[in-house]
Amino acid sequence: MATTAIPTSLPTGTHGVPVDRDRAIRARRLSLWRDGLEAAAWLVTVAGISFFLASGAMVWTVRADVLNSLGRLLGIIATVLILVQVLLASRAPWIERALGHDKALKLHGAMGQPVFLILVAHAAFLTIGYGSPTGRDIVAQTAYFLGHTRDIALSIIALAILLVVAVTSIAAARRRWPYETWHAIHLFAYIAIAIAVPHQFTDGTTFKYNAWARGFWASLYAIAFGSLLLWRVLVPAVRALRHRLVISGIERHDDGSVSVTMVGRRLDGWNARPGQFFLWRFYTKELWLTAHPYSLSAVPDGRSLRITVKPLGDDSAAVGRLSPGTRVSASGPYGRFVHDARVRPGLVLVGAGIGIAPVRAMIEGYRAGDGQCDVVVRGSSDREVPLLDEMRTLAAERGARIHEVFGHRGDGWSTVDGPQTLALLVPALPDCDVFVCGPEAWADLVREDALECGVAREAIHVEEYDW
């Protein structure tokens, strides 16, 4: 464990002013970037609709034409949304930095249901619209498409695949399917997206005759799938080959948590900051199938990376059984739980459960004088809080104050008889950034409390830890 090397990207000013100016600039840039991404998503959707209108496809004369027109319009909207979903899942740094990994994934998931319903409406409208002049009903026309067309038939199969993906997503959420099973089925959505591409160019009227529209549409696919390929396949593969991570040490703590230290080649070229996490893949029989998100629990020193895991689920228990020498690959770093995300002078770190791990790394990355640092540690007792001794030592070294809130659960984020609000622990709370890491429901309570105490929305940084 290293306490000396601190990445140069941390704020280095010691008198507040230059650091705060940097922080204000960073906050402005982030806001611009976020709004820019949101604006881009809207404008791309509108551009798709505009190309559709320009093709003259919006016709209101015959009922069948109205259905066909609306169907085409919905198809264009759904496709833009799907490509946004692909981008959100691509782990591209320019998405992760703006939104954060958890929010990007949440948005990706939340879009699923509406997008699927729009696609169903798209298919239904066009099938009814195409069938009505010949008197075919929706079933007969579907059969006709399957028998008489190639590209539309493929897109019908694509919709069927998406139906299976949608149903299993709902089932997975309700019945807690194993993540691996659900994820494997989920990947078929990419196949569905791919085989639905041809009909957009050959049957859709928007892109068939207009080269600009075709170029626009093709570039959307190129950006979304290019990002996916680059950041989820190529970069992790290059990282794995270059760094060749191997477990060098396993440390079992008294509270039951386990720290895993990994070494590799040229790790100084991998710019992870304290508080960030990686998706780790441990090459053992039990664990190689799934990548697990675990935060760094120490500032990376250029030679090793350390995570701390509490054996709660099946897989984290399996992490406890890892042994030195096991090969590891990782993608990342991800997360906005970093000093660079600060927008206020003061710093408040609030952690519970294994959410303590990134808090521990953040204390290590904190420099005395860079605003006051308050650490709030929530647990049922000092015996079940991971890394408590390390945090006490680091806090003493760096001049951070630790508030240990131990005991039985109350109504809020605190204990029954503990301080009921953060403001009691940190009087200058509105001038602070509040970083929260812990179970989702608990983190929400901390967030509510901070908002009520006057902390600005952009100064609250929550990393959810439920997956």
Partner: protein, 161 residues
């Protein structure tokens, strides 16, 4: 999103939609339609007025109180082509085709509509003149011609004329 940025995005969106709408509803340019050499067409290389109003049949008169044949509206079969489904109905007065009304003209993209706008009035005129579906295709609109005339033919059979 910041309000000022939201306004900019809304403005850009409105502009794009307006441009798209204008492009999509702009009148079609006149289209030169050469008639197929087969079948000896009336005027080759005629410039067609793209206005969708079809020519009004002139021979609407019947012989007074003595109807010479069936009257009524007869819907033709829907005919599938590579460019969609075409279907027409014919209005028959005293055994004569008085009007051909399109019900569906296949694809509705601008290119197809452009072709149809040029070809359909010609086809209609030919049908009315010949009182038959056995007329020549309009070149550059072979699919439209095929589907349209096949639907007319089936309607004529239904009318029994």
């Amino acid at each position: 999103m910041k309000t000022s940025r939201l306004v900019m995005v809304a403005g850009a969106s409105a502009t794009m939609l307006a441009i798209g709408w204008r492009a999509g509803t702009a009148p079609f340019p006149s289209l030169v339609v050469a008639d197929d050499p087969i079948g000896g067409a009336p005027a080759s290389g005629s410039v067609v007025d793209p206005s969708p109003s079809g020519p009004v049949p002139t021979g609407e008169s019947s012989t007074g109180s003595n109807p010479a044949g069936p009257s009524g509206t007869f819907v033709g079969n829907a005919v599938d082509t590579a460019f969609g489904t075409l279907q027409v109905q014919i209005v028959v007065a005293d055994g004569e085709i008085a009007d051909v009304q399109p019900l569906a003209l296949g694809f509705t993209d601008s290119k197809s509509r452009q072709i149809n706008a040029a070809a359909v009035p010609i086809l209609e005129q030919r049908v009315l003149t010949a009182q038959s579906a056995d007329v020549s295709y309009v070149s550059g609109a072979s699919y439209t011609s095929q589907g349209y005339l096949a639907s007319v033919a089936s309607a004529i059979v239904k009318a029994g004329i």
